[in-house]
Symmetry: C2
DNA sequence: GCATTATATTTGATATATCAATTATATTTG
DNA sequence: CAAATATAATTGATATATCAAATATAATGC
């Protein structure tokens, strides 16, 4: 049997764990109380403006149930507001509050910084090649 | 701002999700009731024989608390046995049961199969290069 | 227009991750 | 040896993931 820790997927899992911890630590250290997943949801809404929760889920490759709960927390933190959609009452109109905008603006430099640190020693080209290969694997898993 | 979904780490997160789902589906489809993480713990113990729970945690890059709970489930499923260590009574002697051995033997071909499918179109060399780059990133995050 | 079907979201159950606090036992050290 | 410290594992709290069931509303088809 191939050793479990020599398998590519093990390396990838390891990377994600180390990176998430690294990322969250920097955010906390700078005094912000937001998780990586909450950050992603905020950024996704910021880029796309009008999205239903299920669309957010789809874009972030998350379950709609997870999105419900993450959004609940973001609303509790007052970074997000939810109004029932006037046209389709099953949906919600999600909007980032001014507090939410502030958090994004303040946290973004931190994110840029740790991303840069994490990628030190890799060229744009290296990164692109990895992405291409990983996308291949993603397609194989469908 | 860089689009959130063009960032390497987003691709990696996406890959892990798609791959985990893909993997777990094949295992379930073949009638086995074991999660990816439980599988990893079993394989880790199989390869290393004598490990404490905290050593398992370290090798799998997991928290000791997670390991406690995963092992609980493996014991409940009778794939693992736990006896108090005769020398150091804080520890446990973990051993894979014969049911556990059977599961590993039966699930392993399934794992090989989906790994192979997932990696279709990539050469050994491609895979190695990715690993090397990812290890670089892992080190940057420490 | 009403029944059927589809879609959006929520909720509950279970698994895992992370952090902090707790418990039990070992080790160190004064 | 007793007190202080270190280590192993557990437990509780909270966040997230996944699946299934439930609820509410919309769309469709006869």
């Amino acid at each position: 049997m191939e050793k479990f820790d020599s398998v590519l997927f093990f390396t990838i899992e390891k990377l994600i764990k180390v990176y998430r911890k690294f990322a969250h630590e920097q955010i906390k250290k700078n005094g912000y109380d937001i998780t990586i997943d909450q950050w992603l949801v905020l950024r996704c809404l910021q880029e796309n403006k009008i999205l239903s929760q299920s669309q957010v889920a789809e874009m972030l490759f998350k379950d709609v149930a997870s999105i419900t709960r993450i959004i609940e927390l973001l609303v509790k933190k007052k970074y997000l507001e939810r109004k029932i959609d006037s046209i389709d009452r099953r949906k919600f109109e999600l909007s980032i509050t001014s507090d939410g905008v502030k958090v994004i603006e303040n946290v973004y430099p931190i994110v840029q910084n740790y991303r840069k640190k994490a990628l030190e020693g890799l060229t744009k080209n290296d990164i692109n090649n990895i992405k291409i290969d990983l996308e291949k694997i993603i397609n194989n898993c469908k």
